[in-house]
């Protein structure tokens, strides 16, 4: 998996609460069994003028310069709520997003982010709003830095906003770890568990 350490980039404000994964990638845009070919469908319902069309809605933030080159997304509480579709994260990643800054996330979405090289930063909404205000003054030059080594976001004016992240998730992103390979190293423990459990709960073992 791709690692995340730090980026300094254009940040796009999408200051809405409860942005659901149906909005991030509508089901109709998931046309193949796979993780790719999804960027064009990102936010399709908001980005384009009609369902199925590719005529851009000029007012939508990601259709405007320099937000077309954003690598960071600023949003409201409960970002990525709803459907578990990992396609939402694959679409964001393929489009170019590497970090999101929001007050909270849908649990499955946040888990999907850290398994695909996207950092979901949790900061108070007041901070998100302040970042957006600073960025909007001149988005091309007023960049935001997100540093996972130091666990801090730096605003365009230099203000530092520390954030916390579960250590396991942080390690996963920093090291670009393969979760399955890590767990398979514990094969003995899994087999030992099954041995004990089979005696205790035999009905589980079909």
């Amino acid at each position: 998996m791709e690692k995340f350490t730090r980026i300094t980039a254009v940040a796009a404000p999408l200051l809405r609460i409860n942005v659901d994964t149906d909005a991030i990638i509508p089901s109709r845009e998931m046309k193949t069994v796979g993780k790719t070919g999804l960027a064009a469908g990102l936010f399709a319902g908001w980005r384009y003028q009609a369902s199925g069309s590719r005529v851009e809605e000029p007012g939508f933030v990601l259709n405007r310069e320099p937000y077309r080159h954003a690598r960071i997304l600023l949003s409201g509480a409960n970002f990525g709520c709803g459907s578990s579709r990992e396609h939402a994260v694959w679409a964001l990643h393929e489009w170019g997003i590497r970090a999101i800054i929001a007050p909270s996330y849908g649990a499955i979405f946040a888990g999907n982010c850290v398994r695909n090289g996207i950092l979901p930063v949790v900061l108070d909404y007041a901070v998100v709003e302040e970042l957006a205000r600073q960025v909007e003054a001149d988005p091309a030059s007023r960049l935001v830095s997100v540093d996972l080594v130091d666990c801090a976001v730096t605003a365009p004016d230099g203000t530092r906003h520390p954030f916390t992240m579960a250590a396991a998730d942080r390690d996963m992103l920093l090291e670009g770890l393969d979760g399955i390979a890590l767990t398979l190293k514990r094969d003995d423990e899994i087999l030992a568990f099954q041995g004990r459990d089979r005696l205790r709960r035999p009905w589980i073992y079909l």
Partner: protein, 468 residues
């Protein structure tokens, strides 16, 4: 030390403490469907990894499969056929059990898994589907995951999980007649918001929960994810043990006795501490209906569309304004009486036999109003067969409902079937997001009883006031 039901299930499934606050939990059952399971199986095979215990992994066709009578692999969804054929091939190669099109065990994953006795009290069950929390209704610790995590569960029989904070919600009092589990969960989300449960594993408890039949508990838990919860659970009781008895994959005979004896301990100890406790008075609840584009945008059917100007929080206000523009509604409009063009009964929320019976009771002897397209999609092939044995299909058909094969159907739009542009639909599903049921389709979530009553009247209707 007094433990919560979640503590007990966590401890029972703990394979290893990973440090860093993470636990390696044993996963008893994995369920997949053709929409998101397909990619998990494909990627796993591509990485030359195998499914560790294929006999404990199940798959169904529900999201993409057509629900029109006489269906096969062809679907109206662009690219849909590929999901079906690739899932079938991958499931066969992996040696897992597939409930394929034409199999009478096929159906919506969260309807099938308790129905077949695959989800049981006390099991850990994961599925790459957000509504996996449904199975908390029978006392399973079940939660939705992504496809990459599904690969992990398939390859290792475990998941690395951080233990969420704990919450208990006490649903107090007794429901009035005509008010259902769907109304309870909508009211909870309305009261505390769609992110009210973010970061929590939640026990649903209280008199109103205990009084719910098992299928209604599945409905209540189904929308736990719409509350933002990591998952939700209800302590299993005699009603659940009776429900489980005789299910195809459930333990039988002595094994069942042994299982039930262990399941009786699955409740929070007296004095167990929760990080947060909430209460909801159910005795005064009216049937609930949504007016906006988040499940938190809801009120009693006897209520009115709220005025965003009165909302102090700017974020919520803007979301409300966007929602009203999308829904074509003005503040102050009474919800009861709003003309509708569509009525949908189905989905993993409300498509079980008891849901269809309740709706049929309202529909019997009535006709769907002119100009309303009404569709009923049983949650599983077993539900459909049982309903047909009772003659419910006849009641639905004679009322003017389409009677479909089982699947997720028009709960979501994937480029195939939908309700029309800016059409107003009353739906027994779980999500009223923008464009969820079709391009600019306006969804009002409600119970099957409210959907049936509204279909007859041609407008959002309080079933309690429907003249016999």
């Amino acid at each position: 030390m007094a433990r919560t039901i979640i503590d007990k299930l966590w401890d029972e499934h703990l394979v290893a403490d990973l440090g860093n606050g993470a636990s390696l939990l044993y996963i008893d059952r994995v369920f997949l469907h053709e929409r998101t399971g397909s990619v998990a199986l494909k990627e796993l095979a591509a990485a030359n990894r195998r499914v560790r215990n294929p006999e404990q992994v199940f798959c169904t066709m529900d999201h993409i499969v057509d629900t029109l009578p006489g269906r096969g692999d062809a679907t109206r969804m662009p690219g849909g056929g590929e999901f079906i054929t690739q899932t079938r091939a991958a499931a066969r190669a992996a040696g897992i059990t597939l409930f394929d099109i034409g199999d009478d065990r096929q159906g919506i994953v969260h309807v099938v898994s308790p129905e077949q006795g695959i989800a049981l009290p006390g099991v850990t069950l994961v599925c790459p589907d957000s509504h996996t929390c449904t199975l908390g209704g029978i006392g399973a610790l079940a939660w939705g995951i992504g496809s990459t995590e599904a690969e992990h569960a398939l390859a290792t029989k475990t998941l690395a999980v951080r233990k969420p904070r704990s919450m208990r919600i006490d649903f107090r009092g007794r429901l009035a007649p005509g008010v259902t589990a769907k109304d309870m969960i909508l009211a909870l989300i309305g009261a505390h918001g769609a992110s009210g449960g973010v970061g929590y594993a939640i026990e649903f408890a209280g008199e109103a929960v205990r009084a719910l039949p098992v299928e209604a508990r599945l409905t209540l838990c189904n929308m736990g994810v719409e509350f933002g919860a990591w998952t939700v659970i209800i302590a299993p009781d005699e009603a659940v043990f009776d429900y489980v008895r005789g299910r195809p994959y459930a333990p039988q005979g002595q094994a069942l006795d042994q299982a039930i004896a262990s399941w009786r301990a699955l409740h929070s100890d007296a004095g167990a501490r929760f990080d947060r406790e909430l209460t909801l008075d159910c005795s005064t609840l009216a049937p609930q209906v949504t007016w906006g584009t988040s499940p938190q945008h809801e009120t009693g059917i006897d209520g009115a569309v709220p005025d965003p100007a009165l909302e102090a929080d700017a974020n919520r206000r803007q979301a409300m304004e966007r929602a009203l523009a999308y829904m074509g509604l003005e503040p102050g409009t009474r919800l009861a009486g709003l003309p509708i063009q569509g009525a949908f009964i189905g989905s993993c929320t409300n498509s079980r036999l008891s849901d269809l019976r309740a709706a049929a009771k309202v529909l019997e002897g009535h006709k769907v109003a002119q100009g309303v397209r009404a569709v009923c999609v049983p949650g599983s092939s077993q539900v459909k067969l049982a309903a047909e044995r009772e003659g419910l299909d006849r009641i639905f058909r004679e009322a003017g409902f389409e009677w479909r094969e089982s699947g997720c159907s028009m709960c979501f739009y994937a480029g195939g079937e939908s309700f029309g542009f800016e059409e107003r639909v009353v739906s027994s599903t779980n999500r009223n997001f923008e464009n969820r049921q079709g391009p600019r389709t306006r969804t009002h979530l409600a119970s099957p009883v409210t959907v049936a009553a509204s279909a007859i009247a041609g407008r959002l209707t309080d079933a309690r006031h429907l003249a016999g």
